[in-house]
């Protein structure tokens, strides 16, 4: 499953690049991260409990940066091993500086194997879009923090086709839902 979109940051490209390359910051992008361990500047691990409406999905992720062209392009491969699911994801970030701001185009190829894959894909596609939305918002928060500025309201490059159009901005962790 291919997911893609754009994001604009009210911060210079170098700063966004630094966030993307700091594993400790990247780890905080993940929803429900419980612990992470940095092996070296190219590889790091994180154990995560992805907040789904019906409960948490425990996954142990291995991240590896497989390609990079400083301040312009990075390619990240990640493998998540869980009980009900094995997630393989390849994410690419393309940064183009626009003066004091940065335009980012990103694309991700997400593959899920195991019982969760058979949970009915109609549910799986919107869930991935939601989680990607969370990651992007967390990335923006990290950039803002790195910038030291408090101002939010960075203009969001949301167009109808992009997945963020689906997910509203869920304040904080997930919600109790029951049936």
């Amino acid at each position: 499953m291919k997911v893609e979109g754009t994001k604009d940051f009210d911060a210079p490209a170098q700063l966004v690049w630094d966030v993307l390359n700091d594993p400790s910051k990247m780890a905080n992008l993940l929803p429900g991260v419980e612990s992470f361990e940095i092996q070296d500047d190219r590889r790091w691990k994180a154990s995560v409990k992805v907040p789904l409406g019906m409960g948490g999905l425990k996954l142990n992720f291995n991240f590896e940066k497989i390609e990079e062209r400083p301040i312009e392009y990075a390619k990240l491969s990640s493998k998540g091993q869980g009980v009900g699911a094995i997630v393989a994801m390849e994410t690419q970030f393309h940064l183009t500086p626009e003066g004091e701001r940065t335009h980012m185009r990103w694309e991700a190829d997400v593959r899920i194997a195991g019982p969760v894959g058979s949970m009915g894909q109609r549910v799986f596609q919107p869930i991935v879009n939601q989680q990607v939305g969370n990651v992007l918002n967390a990335l923006e928060a990290q950039v803002e923090e790195a910038k030291g500025g408090g101002a939010t309201g960075a203009e969001q490059g949301i167009h109808p086709g992009s997945p963020e159009a689906y997910s509203a901005d869920p304040a904080g962790p997930t919600h109790s839902a029951e049936s």
Binding site: G53, M54, G55, G56, P115, P170, H175, S176, A177
Partner: protein, 266 residues
């Protein structure tokens, strides 16, 4: 078929339920269990504390207040189907509830569970959106009421946040509105491929489409079929594809069924 370890609690009051739900980030409310227990069987999503709401009588019951229905979150589909109040005030609720799965599921499944689990194929999210329902949420910080359109936030995600509980669903008075429903399902009364609820009031149709996005897509247009179809077409739906239907087929069904729901409302 074999769940992970969990804690089970059966509070007798709403307050105790809210306390229990707030006690652990991974506490989940258990209403009818017709969705949550099946997800737990796959161990894909694993709540650590299950808070069973079935012993809280305050959450059950159907009342009519000047034409509007107040339905307790733990009211079962069977109770809605058999309710004279629903038959008088807003019969579409019973008509739709009658098409949910089967007798056994309808004896346990609840309106609260249906809207809170917010599986894109569920029946009540689009119906609540079309009828303009209002949903009351109780949390540690008190009670608030949210309209249907802001209530549904994502797949399995709603405005009921951790530590909170849906207590009741209010369906506005019917007045001279006319309500309709149309769906294509996987086998009779099966899982929805696309479902549409419509409510027509003085010439305008409020149409809510399920199964085509994380949350119901609401479209309003004048209550004639071509206007409704054009409105749906211009909504630019981007439905998920799965083994039962492609995105293109779901988009097409949304148009066809929107027109039929409006016709059903006539």
């Amino acid at each position: 078929m074999l769940l992970s370890e969990l804690e089970y609690a059966r509070p007798g009051s709403v307050e105790e339920a809210v306390r229990l739900l707030g006690s652990n980030e991974n506490a989940r409310a258990l209403a009818g269990g017709q969705s949550l227990v099946n997800v737990m069987k796959t161990r894909v999503a694993t709540p650590e504390v299950v808070v069973d709401l079935n012993r809280i009588d305050a959450l059950r019951g159907i009342a009519v207040a000047d034409g509007a229905l107040e339905i307790g979150a733990m009211t079962t589909y069977t109770a809605i189907i058999d309710s004279p109040e629903v038959a008088a005030a807003r019969p579409i609720l019973a008509e739709v509830a009658r098409t949910i799965a089967d007798v056994q599921v309808r004896n346990r499944g609840t309106i609260g569970g249906n809207v809170c689990s917010n599986d894109p194929t569920n029946h009540f999210p689009p119906l609540a959106a079309a009828l303009g329902a209002e949903l009351t949420i109780l949390g540690a910080s008190g009670e608030r009421t949210v309209g249907a359109e802001e209530f549904f936030e994502g797949v399995y995600m709603t405005a009921v946040h951790p530590g909170e509980l849906l207590t009741k669903v209010r369906i506005p008075a019917k007045g001279d509105a006319r309500d309709g429903w149309a769906s294509i399902t996987l086998g009779k009364d099966g899982t929805g491929i696309v479902n549409v609820a419509a409510s027509v009031r003085d010439g305008t149709a409020r149409v809510a489409i399920g199964c085509v996005a994380a949350t119901p897509v609401v479209v309003t247009a004048s209550a004639d079929e071509t206007a409704v179809q054009d409105a749906v077409r211009s909504a630019g739906l981007d439905p998920p594809a799965d083994v039962h239907a492609s995105a293109e087929y779901r988009r097409h069904l949304a148009e066809v069924l929107a027109a039929r729901a409006v016709r059903d409302a006539a």
